[in-house]
């Protein structure tokens, strides 16, 4: 099963990278853009049992390693 995980900054946490890229896009003439955020997107394969069990495992992996609960939040999709 294919898993897609999106790890993003929590609200209010500064994203210096997003801020700098936004300034760069504006200076390249793209005046109509805002709220640029640079986040992490993780893809992986899981094999075995059921979708529910895969989802339980992905949640555990995110809490344990793939995201830092203090400054990040995550959501994910598991495709059969």
């Amino acid at each position: 099963m294919k898993v897609k995980i999106y790890v993003t900054h929590k609200k209010g946490i500064l994203d210096p990278q997003g801020k700098t890229v936004e300034t760069a896009l504006l200076s390249l003439g793209y005046k109509n853009i805002s709220g640029v955020k640079i986040e992490k997107y993780i893809e992986l394969e899981i094999d075995g049992k059921s979708k529910e069990e895969a989802e339980k495992q992905v949640k555990k992996m995110c809490d344990e390693l793939l995201s830092n609960p203090i400054i990040e939040q995550y959501r994910f999709e598991v495709e059969q």
Partner: protein, 225 residues
């Protein structure tokens, strides 16, 4: 003869390169703010190491769009003019298409700062003519993204045209393809290298092997005037 050192927001080896040219090589040099567009009075432009724009998005990805880069592309078309990109400067030259390939994250995922051994693969360029072929140099590296990569076709071309100027000797610190540490363009007037020659140009810093690179540039420019 006049050297120019480009300063991007986030460059941090600009002072170092400026000092080596001025006080060790003893040639005229001035800083060039990244919005400069007139380069014709200069003979050699240095893109120094550092973290231009914080290395955000990709190293050199944003610096490549600075106003000075358009002027630099025209400047580099004249084969009598020399351009050297050191560390972040090399990354910017690749992003700007002045040199082929790209610099990826080090294989061991860590920033590495230490002296390494380099081998001179091609001493027939304005940047390496003072070295002997195959000479081993001791020059420091300090980077997190020095893992050079390009497609097979480009690598074959680099080898055919002898554009690989420096390689890591014996052990490769970052996983760089074909141990590449420094390459030049076909016209051999633009060089990009990850190691820092300006950090090995005075005995007090532990090695003087980098000085001969700047001396090579000096002698190449002397011949042309």
């Amino acid at each position: 003869m006049k050297f120019g050192v480009i300063v991007f927001p986030g460059s941090n080896c600009d002072h170092d390169c400026y000092d080596v040219i001025k006080k060790v090589v003893k040639q005229p040099v001035s800083y060039l703010w990244h919005t400069t567009t007139k380069l014709d009075t200069f003979d050699c432009i240095i893109l120094p190491g550092g973290f231009s724009y914080g290395d955000y998005l990709r190293c050199g990805a944003i610096a490549r769009f600075a106003k000075v880069m358009d002027a630099l592309k025209k400047f580099a078309e004249d084969k009598n003019k020399l351009v050297i990109g050191i560390c972040n400067g090399f990354q910017i030259l690749c992003e700007a298409g002045l040199l082929p390939g790209a610099l990826q994250r080090n294989k061991n995922m860590h920033f590495i700062c230490k002296h390494v051994n380099l081998k001179v693969e091609n001493n027939h360029t304005s940047f390496s003519k003072k070295y002997k072929k195959g000479q081993v140099l001791r020059i420091p590296i300090a980077h997190g993204e020095g893992n050079y990569t390009c497609d097979k076709k480009t690598l074959a071309e680099l080898k055919k045209n002898k554009q690989i100027v420096f390689t890591y000797y014996k052990n490769n610190p970052n996983g760089s393809m074909a141990n590449i540490a420094g390459i030049c363009n076909k016209q051999r007037n633009v060089l990009g290298m990850m190691p820092h020659p300006e950090r090995a140009s005075e005995a007090i810093l532990g090695s003087e092997d980098g000085l001969l690179l700047f001396k090579s540039i000096e002698s190449a420019l002397n011949i042309r005037h």
